[in-house]
Amino acid sequence: MTTTTATATATATATDDATRIRERALAAARSVTDPEMPMLTLDDLGILRSVEVSGSGAVTVAITPTYTGCPAMATMRDDLVRVLGVAGFADATIRVSLSPAWSSDWITARGRQALTDHGLSAPGRVPVRSGPVALSLMPTRRELHCPQCGSGAVELTSEFGPTACKALYRCTSCLEPFEHVKEI
């Protein structure tokens, strides 16, 4: 009787420990920022897909590239390994999760706010598609507001910006250029 109770208590403690360890790993992984937009964490961007801790304390993190050719993937992986190492997880493996493909819809509310706070325009909802991808020969219509002055009078300069995930805009009210994170 006494033995059973002791075992149950031990199991409960072990479970609590495992939860605490996982939370610590999760917190560490969540603190890693994007190399190109350091005001956002990988978690804010929806790049961080999962954090798992094995019984032996090995951490496996899954990340998803925003664009196939994203040159920052290696840096993200290195940053995750380094931050997890500092948090006491020497054994960290970073997996690339290609499927499902990243969508700008995965950017969190906090991430969207951080983008706006830093003068970037957050992506709108990705249009739901059925059937073949439609060709669009007119400039993409987006309901955007200038992150500097809030004016809705903006014009598209280019669908391709300084990083793969951004388009270039200009506000015709305050004349400031700004970057818009593209819907994808």
């Binding site: 190399p35 899954a62 590239p65 664009y67 196939t68 050719g69 994203c70 040159p71 920052a72 993937m73 290696a74 840096t75 992986r77 290195d78 940053d79 380094r82 493996t93 970073i94 997996r95 690339v96 999760s97 290609l98 499927s99 499902p100 493909a101 990243w102 073949p132 991808v133 060709l135 669009s136 020969l137 007119m138 400039p139 993409t140 300069t157 280019s158 669908e159 391709f160 910006g161 300084p162 793969a164 270039l168 593209k182 994808i184």
Partner: protein, 330 residues
């Protein structure tokens, strides 16, 4: 005078005798000239200083019922289309008509390079015998060995992507025709039984949508622009369109991987692509190109490794540094 000449010669000798700098080795116990830049913080490593398998953690199980060599070759075909198109587009970097288009073309090149990396890695995993042999101990990963250590005749891309860029109109026509075909193929490839191909296709569609729209909009702009821009788009179409048919000609490997539910027979998307392009031509007021397709050479086309001279030149430029340093770490 002779003294002066001697002095000049001795300076010249010094220059010639300077050893060339080896690539920095981060593991070198004596460090490298770049160590000072790092400040002891490992997070300061610049992008791209290491390579690991880009498919790390991806489910790379081989689907059943497909020949591994066929799958590998098919991946090479899709990879080489993207790699060569990417290399061509990146030639515009710093030379495009304006800054926005310079950035746009470089972005598109980067997307295609990303697709090429994954597909080359997949090709190597499916059929390791495709990967060129390198000196023992070479740190060059399989994807790089495939990109930089194959000769032009081993490339499996369609000939359209290797054509010289020509003027901006030629580049736009090439991009329009190629991205239209590639997106249509990827729309079917998402159903591939191969998890990697399916994932690359799903992601690629999102990227190619932007590429095709960009090319289509510029096609319309140039066609409806000035007399000169119209003349150039007409000339570009005449030059590029003979290479269009090859993109939809079924290669035996494509037929087999399509039958196995792993790949796509490009002939099956020809009609869908024609409908999209007809839209662009109609809006632009341009007649459908009627030039006869460029013939195969002894029955062989790009997919068989038969290319135009342009490929050997671009491949030579792309590979020269890597080939000079088969043991290099980048």
């Amino acid at each position: 005078m002779p003294d002066e000449l001697d002095a000049i010669q001795s300076v010249a000798d010094d220059v010639v005798h300077q050893p060339s700098h080896p690539a920095p080795d981060p593991n070198d116990a004596h460090g490298s000239v770049y160590d000072g830049l790092l400040g002891g913080d490992p997070s300061h490593w610049a992008f791209g200083t290491d390579f690991e398998d880009p498919l790390a953690g991806v489910d790379t199980t081989m689907p059943e019922g497909v020949d591994a060599a066929d799958l590998g070759t098919y991946c090479l075909m899709l990879a080489d289309d993207a790699l060569i198109a990417s290399q061509r587009l990146s030639e515009w970097c710093s030379r495009a008509p304006d800054l926005e288009d310079d950035i746009a073309l470089s972005n598109i090149a980067l997307d295609l390079l990303g697709q090429a990396r994954l597909l080359l890695a997949r090709a190597a995993a499916a059929d390791p015998s495709l990967v060129p042999a390198l000196p023992e101990g070479s740190p060059v990963p399989a994807e790089d060995a495939l990109a930089f250590f194959r000769d032009a005749g081993e490339f499996r891309n369609v000939r359209l992507v290797e054509l010289d860029n020509g003027d901006f109109a030629v580049t736009i026509v090439k991009l329009l025709l190629h991205s239209s075909a590639r997106i249509a193929i990827f729309e079917q490839l998402v159903d591939s039984r191969d998890h990697v191909l399916s994932a690359v296709a799903a992601k690629g569609i999102k990227e190619l949508t932007y590429h095709r729209d960009y090319a289509g909009r510029w096609f319309l702009t140039l066609a409806r622009g000035t007399e000169e821009s119209r003349r150039r788009i007409d000339a570009a179409l005449g030059q590029v369109s003979p290479l269009q048919a090859e993109m939809f000609a079924t290669h035996a490997v494509e037929a087999r991987v399509a039958a196995a539910g792993v790949g796509v027979d490009p002939a099956t998307v020809a009609d869908a692509v024609a409908v999209v392009l007809a839209q662009v031509f109609a809006l632009s007021g341009v007649d459908q190109p009627t030039k006869a397709p460029l013939a195969a050479v002894q029955g062989r086309q790009g997919r068989d490794g038969m290319h135009t001279e342009a490929l050997s030149r671009i491949v030579g430029e792309m590979q020269v540094v890597a080939r000079a340093h088969p043991m290099g770490q980048w």
